[in-house]
């Protein structure tokens, strides 16, 4: 499935209701292409954090996209990750 236009982002966010709306709302509002989302509370975390994996289809706008995402109040960190062995690769069989 590897596509060189795609990037993988890992976000740590406050597990507030509405946090996913804020992320998706930002992407819709700035017309960033979002191809996949995985979100789960961080296991065993008492601090109410969630981990979000985003598969995005942006090359030129990627730095801008990351900066905008970092600005969201409930987003704590944003990291870029390698596509290889990613959660999206491993779960490919569920999306056919």
């Amino acid at each position: 499935m590897s596509n060189e236009n795609q990037s993988l982002l890992k976000l740590i966010v406050n597990n507030h209701p509405g946090v996913l709306s804020h992320i998706c709302g930002l992407f819709a509002r700035r017309s960033y292409n979002l191809e996949g989302v995985m979100i789960r509370p961080i296991a065993g975390s008492s601090s109410h954090k969630s981990c979000v994996w985003l598969l995005v289809n942006e090359v030129e706008k990627l730095p801008q996209l990351i900066r905008q995402t970092e600005k969201l109040i409930d987003v704590i960190t944003v990291e870029q990750h390698d596509m290889k062995e990613s959660i999206f690769e491993k779960t490919e069989q569920f999306f056919i």
Binding site: H22, L26, K71
Partner: protein
């Protein structure tokens, strides 16, 4: 006194309602005024408000309430609050909140919502306020328990004011407002709010100064960020010591006094010809608290074709958003200027300054008719000469707004307040009310157009009630003038839906709502009457008839390059 309301600070361990807690938390934030309109879903807030020291300003439309709060916020730099009920109350607020987002204004919009058990059932006056506000706020909340208010309210003020300011909205279901809780003050950990930027690096300052040192024809581009950072004095020292002329964005008017020798006035779509031409020649642009809006840059690929860019902004996502900078500093522009000012050496640039003087002489800003009270520049100049520097100025949106931006002699920050990013018609009157509420001893001038003024004219009744020193000046061309201008210039004079068949007697409309009004075209000695209206305390609406053929020049076509300015014929 109302039984259900508190009469003083809640005591620890006393039982109070969510609504009472809300009002208490607003008082703790130093809120003195709330503008709003009550309705079914925020009744508990209004019940709690009666025993508070907070003064409520009853607007006549929630958009008016939003702009009244904005006016207070814009003129003071503080966060200010508006209230609306659910459903239509919330939708009516949307324009004022979106306007605050575009211009980075700390507005706190608090809405009532139907009870949580009703959310999702299409209940009466239920609307997804959270969803509506989400793309037009810096952050927003749906509060799910009274307990949450203890965190959300202080956090909301901090978010609105920290870093790049912006509006926030808080939606509070009615059951949360009614919920009784055992009051315990909670200390909030302010580290909850992310720092907008990391600490300043001295190397960044050194690097920036080295780049400036190597430039032969540098220009400062100064914007609203400098005002929000309270750094106008620092900017002045910086510009003077390095002898660098400065162009001002629309939002940055007033950062440098109009009369300052280094001030080149406003750039962009309606900027002075020499200002845009200087930018054609400069070899370095230092953008300070600006976001390179398209109304300022024109066609981006042609903007400052010979220049490299240095960009300083507190919002990292603004850096390299529109133009690619050769060097950028992600920091509070005030901190950067103060740090830089510590190590500056005096420079003079006689050649560059001479060149600019020459351009100024050969391509001045022409203010045709500035001696005629019944022409736009004349009206503005005459009125400016009748009030002193202390007057605050706001506008609506259209030609009149641009004429004022071009011609009014602004001398200080926060004197000029206008809807820059959203360009909202109807902005002027309620914003003027807010400005005057915040600074009642200062005269507030609101320049409006006959189109814009109709969009929030109902707030004249609010103005009369508050009896403020607001003087509305309508430059009345009986048209949607700026649209008429665009159709004239870019659509072969095919005038479509820009003329009002039915005119309005604004003086009579004002009187009907308790505000003094006159049509300056119909009085005997207009100069004398005008002076009297401007100088006596209390509100006035002054209707000045002008010709619909008046244009704002120069004009850069939307999407065009700033060097391609359209100039009017001399009149």
């Amino acid at each position: 006194m109302n039984d259900s309301a508190i009469d003083q600070k809640p005591q620890t361990n006393s039982i109070i309602s969510g609504a009472q807690l809300l009002i208490h938390l607003l008082e703790e934030q130093g809120v003195t005024h709330v503008a709003g309109i009550p309705g079914g879903a925020n009744l508990p807030m209004y019940d709690a408000l009666t025993s508070s020291s907070i003064k409520h300003v009853l607007a006549r439309h929630e958009q008016g309430a939003g702009f009244i709060a904005q006016g207070m916020a814009r003129v003071s730099g503080e966060a200010h609050v508006c209230f609306a009920s659910s459903g239509p109350g919330a939708t009516n607020l949307v324009t004022a909140v979106a306007d605050a987002k575009m211009d980075s204004i700390p507005l706190i919009a608090i809405t009532g919502q139907v009870s949580q058990t009703m959310i999702g059932t299409d209940a009466f006056q239920e609307i997804d306020t959270f969803g509506l506000m989400l793309p037009i706020t810096k952050h927003n909340w749906l509060v799910r328990s009274a307990e949450e208010l203890l965190e959300v309210i202080p956090h909301a003020f901090e978010v609105a004011l920290s870093g790049r300011p912006g509006p926030v909205s808080i939606d509070i279901p009615k059951d949360v407002q009614n919920e009784l809780i055992n009051f315990r003050p909670k200390s909030i950990d302010s580290t909850d709010v992310k720092a907008p930027c990391s600490a300043l690096d001295e190397n960044d300052i050194r690097e920036m100064l080295a780049i400036i040192k190597n430039a032969h024809k540098p220009i400062l581009m100064i914007g609203g960020g400098i005002i929000y950072s309270d750094a106008c004095d620092d900017l002045k020292v910086f510009a003077e010591t390095l002898d660098i002329p400065a162009v001002q964005t629309f939002m940055g008017l007033g950062v440098l006094s109009n009369e300052h020798p280094l001030s080149l006035g406003m750039l962009g779509m309606h900027g002075a010809p020499f200002t845009n031409l200087v930018l054609e020649e400069c070899d370095l642009v230092v953008g300070l608290g600006v976001r390179f809006d398209d109304r300022a840059t024109g066609k981006v690929s042609d903007f400052c074709p010979r220049a490299k860019f240095v960009h300083v902004d507190i919002d990292r996502s603004e850096i390299d958003k529109v133009i690619s900078s050769m060097y950028s500093i992600h920091a509070d522009v005030g901190d950067v200027l103060r740090a830089a000012n510590n190590s500056l050496q005096h420079v003079t640039r006689p050649l560059w300054r001479q060149r600019i003087e020459k351009l100024k002489e050969s391509h001045p800003l022409r203010l045709d008719g500035d001696d005629d009270l019944f022409r736009p520049y004349g009206a503005i100049k005459t009125i400016a000469s009748m009030v002193d520097d202390s007057a605050n100025i706001t506008t609506d949106v259209g030609q009149h707004q641009m004429w004022v931006a071009q011609a009014y002699p602004f001398t200080r920050p926060r004197q000029w307040i206008s809807s820059g990013g959203l360009g909202t018609m109807g902005f002027g009157l309620p914003t003027a009310i807010g400005m005057a509420l915040a600074q009642p001893d200062i005269t507030t001038l609101c320049f409006s157009g006959d189109g814009s003024f109709m969009m929030n004219i109902q707030e004249l009744a609010t103005l009369a009630e508050e009896n403020l020193n607001v003087k509305v000046i309508i430059l009345n061309n009986n048209h949607l003038g700026l649209v008429r201008q665009q159709q004239t210039l870019f659509y072969k004079k095919n005038l479509s839906a820009v003329k009002f068949q039915q005119g309005v007697d604004f003086a009579m409309a004002a009187k009907s709502m308790g505000v003094n009004g006159m049509n300056l075209g119909q009085v005997d000695n207009p100069h004398k009457q005008l002076t009297k209206a401007l100088r006596e305390p209390g509100p006035w609406v002054i209707d000045i008839p002008i010709s619909e053929t008046e244009m704002v020049f120069p004009m850069v076509a939307p999407g065009g390059s700033n060097r391609d300015m359209i100039h009017g014929e001399e009149q």
